[in-house]
Structures are given as structure tokens and as C-alpha cells.
């Protein structure tokens, strides 16, 4: 079982994010991830990247499930906020 703050830290430790939101109930988490690392990557590869970063926590079931609500580049994120 993890807190949303821990999940945030796990993601941020492996991926340089300009914006990161995590919500959840200790088992199922939802994340909005904005990172330059996503540039030029298809959505499937962006999701793979985030899942790879928290692979250990997913395998140990510390994080039971993570839904990626958004995986955007800073440009895409800014456009959408505008």
C-alpha cells in the first residue's frame, strides 16, 4: 500500500516531469504526467515508459494499479490549458 505522495515520488524519481498529479485510494491510482521525455513518442510508448519506472512497485503490489489519465509533453499540456 502506498500513499499518493509516495507514488508521485516513485514516478518523479525515474522520469523528469514538468507537471505531475496523482490521486488514489492506496490501491488504485490515477496519474496525469507531463514530461519532455514523451516528445515524439506514441501514447503506448509513453505509458510503457511510466509503467517501466514503477515496475518494481507494481510487481510487489505496493502499487496495485496505476491508470494513466494523461501522458503529455509540456507543449501539449500548455495548449490544452490555454
Amino acid at each position: 500500500m502506498a500513499t499518493t505522495e509516495q507514488v508521485k515520488q516513485y514516478i518523479a524519481a525515474g522520469l523528469d516531469c514538468t507537471h505531475l498529479e496523482v490521486e488514489g485510494d492506496g490501491h488504485h491510482f490515477y496519474a496525469v504526467v507531463v514530461s519532455e521525455a514523451f516528445a515524439g513518442k506514441r501514447l503506448i510508448d509513453r505509458h510503457r515508459l511510466v509503467k517501466e519506472v514503477i515496475k518494481e512497485q507494481l510487481q510487489s503490489n505496493e502499487i496495485h494499479a496505476l491508470s494513466i489519465v494523461k501522458a503529455q509533453t509540456p507543449e501539449e499540456w500548455a495548449k490544452q490549458q490555454g
Partner: protein, 106 residues
């Protein structure tokens, strides 16, 4: 025939193929139900579904094929697109409608 070969043929046998739990009429999992709804919302009513609960070899085989651990899995023109999260995100941005517009019924 080898299971991976069977899957390869299956994903290219129809323009839109959804590997899911249950059928389009009776999905056996909330994520699979959501995936069906998203495809339909893009205007594609006639698409192929494969119920992985009917075949344990396919259930495991499709995960190996895509190197993706969960079901449902959407394939468009033989290409793996993603699971229900990715489908929803692409639907929200309009990307999925764009991808399926040639296939969507007028």
C-alpha cells in the same frame, strides 16, 4: 499452428480487433466494457472482438504478443494501439476518431 502465428493472423484479419473479456454484448469486465463503448463512440459498430476468457492460450499469448500486461487490447489495421486508458485518452484528444475515421460507418 503456433499461438503467436494465430494471433498475428487474427489482428490483421479485420481492421479493428479488440481482445477483451466477454463479448461486445456481454463484457465480463468494466475495462473491456469501456473499450467497447469507446470504439462504438468513434462510429465503428462492426468490429471483431476476441473473448480471451474462452481460450487461456490466447489470454496469455496476446500479452506476450504486444508485451503489454493487461486486457483489453485494441488493434487497428494490425497495429497495437493500447488498453482502455490509452483508448480513452486518445478518444478525448480526438486522435482515436482520426485513426478510425476510414473505418467508421457513415
Amino acid at each position: 499452428m503456433d499461438i503467436q502465428e494465430t494471433i498475428k493472423q487474427t489482428v490483421t484479419s479485420s481492421p479493428v480487433v479488440l481482445f477483451m473479456k466477454g463479448s461486445a454484448q456481454f463484457p465480463q469486465c468494466g475495462f473491456s466494457a469501456r473499450a467497447v463503448q469507446i470504439v462504438k463512440a468513434c462510429g465503428v459498430d462492426d468490429f471483431m472482438t476476441v473473448d480471451v476468457l474462452q481460450n487461456p492460450e490466447i489470454r496469455q499469448g496476446i500479452k506476450d504478443f504486444s508485451n503489454w500486461p493487461t486486457i483489453p487490447q485494441l488493434y487497428v489495421k494490425g497495429e497495437f494501439i493500447g488498453g482502455s486508458d490509452i483508448m480513452y485518452e486518445m478518444f478525448q484528444s480526438g486522435e482515436l476518431q482520426e485513426l478510425l475515421k476510414d473505418i467508421a460507418q457513415a
